[in-house]
């Protein structure tokens, strides 16, 4: 049996290829948009995976530390570490800011961790690709390679300089910003540190306050000033449990006895995916729907035009006895071929374009299969108008008069 669609495509291959390229670029954008969403989800999961925690202990009634600000005293971890079933506990701070290196600055999430020899502690990067972990209490940093920093670089965080001693990979915040790990004390200071003028003004106001500066009690004034210029808070306490301990049970125990809010891994994932990136996901979904509609409209228009060009030939085909289903199959096959050409070009375009995006674009094989299925469905549906028109053609049109 001859393939009318195949012969038509081979005869006017240029028209199909160029239309397919246009359609493919549109499909490529669709894939990249889907990849952006997948990248956001992957970044969120990477953040949780890389933290190495089973529980996130945060300020009561907050969604911290990633979705809302959370503040806890940095000595709370001691009481949690004493609870049965708790394997490891670590204070951690998170601060998203511009980190400067000479004239260039990079948006990064600065993570405060306790330096030392507890390399597998929660909050630490699970592996390095170069250099070493933080071993000193101050002025050292481990940066994600996405920052563009290299070992030996000096970067400025607030008013302090840090030397990059190690590099890690795929350590990103939920919004895709690369992480820079610094010692906890420096991070606490960075979160709290004011500029010199603000510090001076704060001291002046304290000294001018009679409640803090009573005659003969200068020690009180000094104590208040000291408390104002130090930060003993962290954003979260990361907890790793013994193997046999239930996350839910332990979360309930900590929140009940310590009056804190505790999230398990599943709950934290729900916060990240369901709340933090939910709006972005809906935004991207809307784009995907619009792109799908535009793709369908393009295929429908092209197939309709191609069919219109052949209306007389279709009338002749019907007159000489060609079945309606043969004509319908010809039109639908052309739409499907156009869709497949667009899919292949779109996939190639997305594969080459994805690494050029500043944030993580994750192209999944399963998305490609879903995309192929949707492209075929959209192509088939798009051909319906042209098929209806072709089937309505009266074979008598081939005969004059």
């Amino acid at each position: 049996m001859i393939s009318l669609a195949g012969r038509d495509i081979l005869h006017s291959w240029g028209k199909f290829i160029f239309t397919g390229i246009g359609l493919g670029l549109l499909i490529g954008v669709t894939f990249v948009m889907a990849g952006v969403y997948r990248g956001m989800v992957d970044d969120g999961k990477a953040l949780l995976d890389n933290s190495g925690a089973d529980l996130w202990v945060v300020q009561q009634n907050t969604l911290g530390p990633y979705a809302e600000s959370s503040s806890l005293n940095d000595d709370l971890y001691r009481t949690i570490s004493a609870m049965p079933g708790v394997a490891e506990v670590a204070n951690v701070t998170y601060l998203t800011m511009q980190v400067r290196k000479e004239e260039r600055d990079v948006r990064a999430m600065v993570v405060g961790i306790v330096p030392g020899d507890r390399f597998a502690a929660p909050g630490w990067p699970p592996y390095l690709v170069a250099g070493r972990y933080l071993t000193r209490g101050h002025y050292e940093a481990v940066a994600d390679v996405a920052t563009g920093f290299v070992i030996g670089d000096t970067v400025r965080i607030r008013r302090k300089d840090f030397t990059i001693v190690g590099l890690t990979r795929r350590m990103v915040s939920s919004s895709g910003d690369p992480m820079i790990f610094i010692p906890l004390k420096d991070a606490q200071e960075a979160q709290f540190l004011k500029d010199n003028d603000a510090t001076w003004q704060s001291r002046r106001r304290t000294e001018a306050n009679p409640a803090f500066n009573q005659p003969g009690s200068s020690a009180i004034t000094q104590a208040v000033i000291d408390s104002q210029t130090t930060n003993s808070f962290v954003n979260a306490i990361l907890v790793r449990l013994d193997a046999h301990v239930s996350q839910d049970e332990m979360a309930q125990r900590i929140s009940r006895w310590k009056r804190l809010t505790v999230y398990t891994r599943a709950e934290m994932e729900e916060i990240l995916l369901g709340k933090l990136i939910a709006t972005s996901a809906r935004q991207i979904s809307m784009f995907l729907v619009i792109l799908a509609i535009v793709s369908a409209a393009i295929i429908a228009f092209i197939i309709y035009t191609l069919t219109m060009d052949k209306i007389r030939e279709i009338a002749v085909l019907k007159l000489i006895g060609t079945r309606n289903r043969t004509i319908a199959a010809m039109i639908m096959q052309q739409a499907l071929v156009l869709g497949i050409i667009g899919f292949v070009i779109g996939k190639i375009t997305a594969a080459f374009a994805a690494p050029l995006f500043p944030k993580h674009v994750l192209l999944l094989t399963q998305d490609a299969f879903i995309g192929l299925f949707l492209v075929l469905v959209i192509s088939a549906l798009s051909s319906v108008i042209a098929i209806r028109m072709a089937l309505k053609v009266d074979p008598a049109e081939a005969i004059g008069g």
């Binding site: 049996m1 001859i2 085909l317 081939a398 005969i399 004059g400 008069g401």
Partner: protein, 236 residues
Amino acid sequence: MSKHGIRIEHLSKRYGSGDTAVDALKDVNMNVAPGEVVGLIGPSGSGKSTLLKSLGAVITPTSGKMTLGEQTIFEQDWKVSDLRALRRDKIGFIFQSPYLIPFLDVVDNVALLPMLAGVSNSEARARALELLTALDVHHRAQAFPSQLSGGEQQRVAIARGLINRPPVILADEPTAPLDSERAMAVIRILNDMAKKFETAIIVVTHDEKIIPTFKRIYHIRDGVTTEEVGEGRLPD
């Protein structure tokens, strides 16, 4: 094959109803024998196209009877259930413009009908080549319609009309776009093919130069046909 290729008796066709009804065909009778080429001549609006569409089983007449060989196609309110298959297997069409399928080469344009009917591609192409050879256009078998001259295109269209060896061929102004020499060549081919394949051929035409070639001519005016004996002067 019976002694008549196609026969219509008391055929009428009415469009519309009531005050707006138009009788396009009125009690038309026609009989074309196998191997015969007859002319159908009439001015615009005479009912020529309606008659051609009825003969081609494209429209259903209001009343009357049509038989193709021994098979009854229409009779009063009854008609053959699958007119599409009937057109494919029993009726060949040749048009004023060849209307060849632009994306098929010459051999596949001719072989298309048997291919669609389920004949293997190789066998259909062999039959097509045989016809193209008979029509002296086999050397353009691999060309596309856009690469052919008008005469070559019309010969390919004739081959397509003959490929299923139909008992009847309806040719609608087949020589209109051709000069005298090529028009006569087409008429000669139609006569040769009619004899060779025992096909009844009805040629609808306005073309004065080919009218003397018919042995019998049907004139149609206001939906009524009259029969006339023609000169039957075929070109050498």
